[in-house]
Every structure is written in C-alpha cells, then in structure tokens.
C-alpha cells in the first residue's frame, strides 16, 4: 500500500505543482512543429507517408523518454536538496517502495506524452492504415525504453550529491543514446555500427519500430532489437530496487550531517 501512497503523492506533486504539465506542454509544442514540417515534406513528396509517421513517432518516443528521464533524475537528489527526503526516510515506508512510487509517477509523464502523440500520428498516418500499428508500437517500445531510462534516472539521482549533476548526467546520457538514431540514412553501416545500435536501448528500440513501420517486417522477425531495452530494465531495476536501502539516503553536507 505504501508504494501506492507514495506514487499518488508524487503524481500530485508532479501534476499539480505544474512541472509535468509544463514539460508535456513543451513536448506538444515541439511535436506540433515536427508534425507540421513533416507534413509539408510529405506533401512535397520528399517523404513517404509511412516515413513521416516513423519519423514523428521516433521524435515523440525520444522526447517523451527525455521528459520522463528528467523527472526521474530529479526524484531523489531533488528531494535531498529541498530537504524533504529526511521526513520521508523517517517513516516506516521501505526504501524500495519510495523508489517504486517515484518510478510510477515518472512513468505517468511518459503516458501523458504518449496520449499527446496520438492525434499527431493519426493526422500523419491517416489513409495508409498505419495508425493503429504505429500507436501500438510506440506505446510498447516507448514504455520499455521509458521504464529502463526512468530506472536509470532514479539510480543517477540516488547516487548524485547535487540535483544539477543528476539532471546533467541523465540528459547527456540520453543525448548520447538518441544521437545515433538521427544519423543520415545513406551512411555506410558495418557490423560495428550494428553492434553499437543493438547495445543502445534507445537506438535499437527505434530501429525495431522503423523496421516494422517502414521496411514492413513482421513483429516477430526483429525482436532481438528489444533485448537491450529489456536488459536495461532488468539491470537498472535490480540495482535500483535491490540496493534501495543503500541508495535512498541522505548525504553528508546535503541537508545532512
């Protein structure tokens, strides 16, 4: 029950205090701009309709995951800096429940970002019966990647003495993971690039959606691309929840001894 109580309060803090609303609003503005330019390219025949859907979905998943990561990276280090963590640690709630509650709250931001994405994909994909496939893919792959990176953000947040450091590390890690997905398609790509793509949970997840939406592969043919997002969830989850007692604590000098 304590996980539910923490998650509900964290959710209220995120949505009522306005931080999540602001982030999702910024996300929808960005998505509007991307969709507008993609639609123009599509009209001018620079982009096929399925490529337009895939491109917008990639941006939606990438930025949606970034927003989720920002929220989770603030989860513990932010509370430490604001001096509110100690009161939480003094309750009988297990550290694991605190981590889980924060994870659920962070994922609510991803789900909101995904809901915002639906009308954009519907507009771009209408007419080629691609909408349902794209949305199911986006939800499945995006939730996998968002969960893994939210757990990673919580781990970084728990380990960093400063909130700024936690946010900066998380942001740059995501940037490094997302950048390869935006390389021009015509570049020569050998086995080394393929390995790099497969170990990168963001790039491999987005490649999976690309292969299904654009290349027309079946859902089961390229499942191996989902190994790295699943491994990230398992490893980050085991670390975040298994070592929560040592991770969720005060640091000397940060509202502490």
């Amino acid at each position: 029950m304590s996980t539910r109580v923490v998650a509900a309060q964290e959710g209220r803090d995120l949505w009522i205090a306005g931080r999540a609303l602001l982030l999702v609003f910024a996300f929808s503005v960005l998505l509007s701009a991307i969709t507008y330019f993609t639609a123009i390219d599509q009209t001018l025949n620079f982009l096929e309709q399925k490529e337009a859907v895939d491109f917008t979905l990639q941006i939606a998943v990438g930025v949606g995951v970034l927003v989720t990561l920002v929220v989770s990276a603030d989860g513990i280090s932010g509370e430490r800096e604001r001096g509110t963590l100690e009161a939480l640690l003094l309750t009988p709630v297990a550290r694991r429940s605190i981590m889980l509650g924060k994870l659920v709250a962070a994922l609510s931001v991803w789900l909101a970002a995904f809901l915002v994405t639906i009308p954009y994909i519907w507009v771009l994909g209408n007419g080629v019966s691609l909408v349902t496939k794209a949305l199911v893919l986006g939800l499945a792959v995006g939730t996998l990647v968002a969960t893994g990176l939210a757990l990673f953000g919580l781990l970084v947040s728990a380990r960093c003495a400063s909130n700024k450091a936690s946010l900066a590390i998380s942001f740059f890690v995501l940037l490094a993971l997302f950048a390869p997905t935006q390389l021009p398609g015509g570049l020569p790509r050998g086995w080394f690039f393929d390995v790099l793509q497969r170990v990168n949970p963001v790039a491999s997840g987005l490649q999976y959606t690309h292969l299904i939406l654009v290349t027309g592969h079946s859902w089961t043919r390229d499942l191996s691309y989902l190994i790295s997002p699943v491994v990230l969830i398992l490893v980050a989850g085991a670390l975040a929840l298994g070592a929560s007692t040592r991770l969720v604590r005060l640091f000397p000098g940060v509202n502490s001894v």
Partner: protein
Amino acid sequence: MGTFTLEADRLTKRYGTRRAVDTLSFTTAPGDVLGLLGPNGAGKTTTIRLLTTILEPTSGDFSVAGVPASKPTEIRRRIGVLPERTGYPPHQTGEGFLRYHARLYGQSKHAANDTAERLLAEVGLTERGGTLIGTYSRGMRQRLGIARALVNDPAVVFLDEPALGLDPAGQVQVGALIRQIARRGTTVVVSTHTLHDVEELCTSVLILDRGKILVAGTPADVTRDAGVTRLSEAFLAMTGTDPR
C-alpha cells in the same frame, strides 16, 4: 535492553578519523524530556540521526521504545521526528501534508483525515490547514513539523532545534507544545541552544562536546554540581565557550 524508552550503549559514529559521536550511553523513561545541549558540531544532530535510524552507528547499540537497533523499520513506527532545517512542499496544504504522512504509517484515508484534523487543532493551525504551506511563516512550519512528528502517536519524539529562527512568541508556542507532548507520557528528546527553555522544560540534560557526554543529570543537579546558579553558566563553563 530493558523497559526504558531510549537506551544508548556506547553509541559511536565515526567519519574517517573524526568521531562525531563518541561512546554515548544514557537512558530515558516515559514522559522524560531530555535536552541535548552542546556547541555547534558537538554531535547533537548526529545522535538524533543515529537514534532515528537515519544513520548507522559505527559501533555501540541502542533501543527505542524497547525495539533494538537491528529493527529500524519497527523503530520508525514508534518515533516521531522534527529534523533540523527540514523542507516542506510549498504547493501542498498543511492538512494534505499531515494526511499524506499519516497514510505513510498505514492509516486509512478516513483515519488520516481525522488525524490531520486533530493535530492541526493541537498545534493551533486549524484555520490555516487548508492553505498552502508556501504561505506559512517559519513558526507555523515548525508547528506543522511537530504535528507531523505526532501522526503515528509515537512513544518517543525527537525535536532537533525546534525553536530555530523563531521569534519569542513562536518559542513560547513550541515550548507549550513540548510540555503537552510530555504530559501524555511520551518521551521527548530535544536538541536546542535555548538554555532558558531547557531549564523550564527538561527533566534531564546531556551536555555534549566533540561527540562525548561532558555531564548528564537534571538541570538542577548540573547547575549545582558546577557551582553556579544558572544552567547557561554551567554550560559555558563546561564547554569552554564562556567569553569572559
């Protein structure tokens, strides 16, 4: 470990080579108000953080309300704490804040509502319970923090610098609250620099310096043994902070 509400046995906390708390041993009984005194860096906050399970001791043992240190979750169920310089969510109402903390102790929504209402009345915040904490004065926040420390009806309450930054009226209010808590039979451990309050409120005091107990006893005993008339004079003489 017996029937004491607090029992510390050679409690020690080291950071590298520095001993923040050094072989502390003491006991308290139900209804006691124990004052932790000492100059800055004496180890008062570290002692409270050890006894409230926020920090792990380097060595030594303790029990709180009969629960051994090896069961930190059980200890946390039986204590209430006002940490030093604690933060409050500014966008939450006082009532919502207390309700949330009552829920964290396993209370149902209905029971948590009742608890929040009762405690707001006890600390004199009923009229401001529905307003955002961000609009509260420092004194109101301290009273809200004390109310939060009471949501689980604890056997031992730890108050770390409860009068810090308060005006005289706020200090009087906090003093009255401490008396009220002790009258229920709850043990109160209060860390403070306000020696006048200690003389009035505390049934016993521990004067700490560099993590060690310099002297322990009732305020009257400590004053008499030091050969002075006021606790503040005894404190200054013992800690070597007397400017004269």
